[in-house]
Each structure stands twice: as C-alpha cells, then as structure tokens.
Subunit: 198 residues, 2 copies
C-alpha cells in the first residue's frame, strides 16, 4: 500500500459518521442499491441496513472491488423487521421514513445533525405500513413539478446531502467520530494493518 | 381537462423559475438525461439546454407522454457551443460548471438564489475545457468517501435541490416568476386554453 493510499484511507475514516444510517426496505433494483451505497460513501455514512422481507435476500454487491462502494461500507442484512429494528434502535434514537403522506414534514425542516436512521422503501410500494408504525416520523422531499416521484437513488442522495450540509455546519466532519474500536476494525479491513504486518 | 388537472397545472406554472437552468454538455446516456429532466421538473426549473458537439443530437425524450418530464420542460438543443452560449447569456448572468478541479468552490458556498446556469458534462470526460473557458466559475459537490465520483443524475439532483433550498428560503416559490407571455405560452402548450376554447 502506498503512502498516498494510506493517507486517503485515514482521511476517509476520519470523516466517517457514527450517527446516521440508511435503511433500504425491499428495494430490489441492484442499480438503485449501488447508487445509494455510492451516496453513503460520498457523505461518510459508514453503515447501511438492507431489509428484505418481501423479496429475496440480495446475494452480491458488485464484486466488492475497490471501485464498488459496497467494499467501503458496513452492510447489515436482515429479512426480519423486528430483528432489524432491534439492531437499529441500539444506535439510532430517531428513525424517519420517506412516504408520500399528508403528515409528512419537509426534509428541510428536519434536524439531521442529530442521530438518525433514514428509511427508503420499495420502488413501487414505498415504505410499508409496518415500518411506518415502528418509525418516529415521516418526511418528504418537496416537489413542485408535474411529475411527483423521484427515483429512490435521487431521493436518497438529496436527503443524504442535506444531512451532510447540516452536519458539516454543525462541525461533524471536523474530527474523528468513529469509536476507536470501530476505526481500528475498519482500518484493518481496508488493509492498513495487514500492510504494516508484512 | 378536469378542474383538478387545471389547478395542478396552474400551481406548477406558478412555481416555475425563470432564473435557473441546467446545461448538459455531451451527456449521452438517455437515462441520465431523463433523470435530470425529472429533477428539473421537481424543483421548478422550466428550461434545459442540451448541447451535443461530440455526440449525435438526441432524437427523442421518451415519447413526451404525461409521465415523461420532457413533456413539461422547454428543451433547447444545440450542436454549436457559441450559439448555445449566445442564447444562455441572454438570460443567465452566471454560468457555473461542475468539474473536479482544484479551483472549484463547494456547492454549499454558492449563492444559488441569483440567476444561474449550471453545466454538467459528459459521463466520462466531464465538462470540456472549451466550456470551462466560457463559464464564470466552477463548483464541486463535496465528497469525503473512498470513491470520488457521483453519477451525473445524482450530482444534478443534489445541486438543484440545494438551489431549491436556497431559493425557497429567499421566497422564490412564493409567487409567480414566469413572465406573463411565457406563462400563457406554456399554459396553452399544456392544454389549458385549448380546453377553454372547446
């Protein structure tokens, strides 16, 4: 591993966030999942929850090559909603869904500098009633056009970048946020310690 | 046309913006163009410039069905850069490119409540040097991940929604912005007057 590579990894790990995640509920298009993962990586979201209760469990995330965002994320897969929420609730005090309902508030009225899990639903049916009942609130991305549906990868990117903007303003990218243990584990996974041991 | 439909069209036209546009330079993937158009429609960007100097002119935008964003946008096609910029400069005082260069400023440091054209480049080569030389500045979407490239449709959506956020805060969606002539022309195109005449 070159010094440049090591420095890049340390820079990236130094900006990974431990208080925001994305949950994908029965999202089935691999291109959408892949695009969501790229957005997560881009804004420093380290972990993602992939819940499949109505579709088959996803088998692969590309080939986990260096150019695949999946290689740089911690991916939790569940096919049971309760188990998924049990894990989620250990780390995230607020779980928010994106569902086109009248009781939704605007993305831009959320405080995304707080601990939060953002849930995006299936391409056709959106977030299920079951998940909405378990969540703490619901938000929408405002739209003023003739066509009222954004692709899920676009919706997720817009949401994550609004979180990025708020978190950056709140200083969340100014210093390491991962705990020492998680930092070390990821650092090992990404090849830094292995290289040192050679 | 139902009253509901007419009201929706009037609501949408009442929020269309006359001071922001998107320029696509040699973007070739129809899915990307289609996704960009949906984002434009969603935030009220009425017109889009499609410049093709190195790839064939695009022939179709879906079938311009009601569910296609292209039906609700004013699309200007050019295969000559000078002609494109001549038209652009008539309406937009600032033209900004998105190119991964060191002199770029962050999207979040832009004032997007002012008159602006945002240029996105070809999927592989980005914005050309020719266009960068003609533009007034260059911005980047900040990224802190291992993979440093966002899909153009994601980059465009994130940029347009930051513009939306700023413009909304500045009151740009509070009242009609289109000039009376353009409003009437679009209203006709979208079927309102035709229906009245029956």
């Amino acid at each position: 591993m070159t010094n440049e590579r090591r420095e890049k990894i340390e820079l990236v790990l130094g900006k990974r966030q431990n208080d925001i995640t994305v949950v994908l509920e029965n999202v089935f298009d691999p291109h959408n999942i892949s695009a969501v993962m790229r957005s997560c990586d881009a804004v420093g979201v380290q972990e993602i929850y992939v819940l499949t209760t109505k579709i088959p469990r996803h088998k692969k995330w590309g080939e986990r090559s260096s150019s695949s965002a999946a290689k740089w994320l911690t991916i939790h897969q569940f096919d049971n909603t309760e188990a998924c929420f049990f894990q989620l609730r250990k780390k995230y005090t607020s779980v928010l869904t994106t569902h086109l309902s009248t009781d939704a508030i605007s993305l831009y009225d959320l405080d995304l500098s707080r601990t939060v899990a953002l849930v995006f639903g299936n391409e056709h049916e959106g977030v299920s009633n079951e998940i909405r009942a378990l969540a703490d609130g619901n938000f929408i991305i405002p739209q003023v056009g003739m066509i009222r549906s954004l692709n899920i990868s676009v919706a997720c990117a817009v949401s994550l970048y609004e979180a990025f903007r708020q978190k950056q303003a709140a200083g969340h990218y100014a210093g390491q946020k991962l705990g020492a243990e998680e930092y070390q584990m990821l650092s090992n996974q990404w090849g830094i310690t292995n290289e040192k041991e050679k």
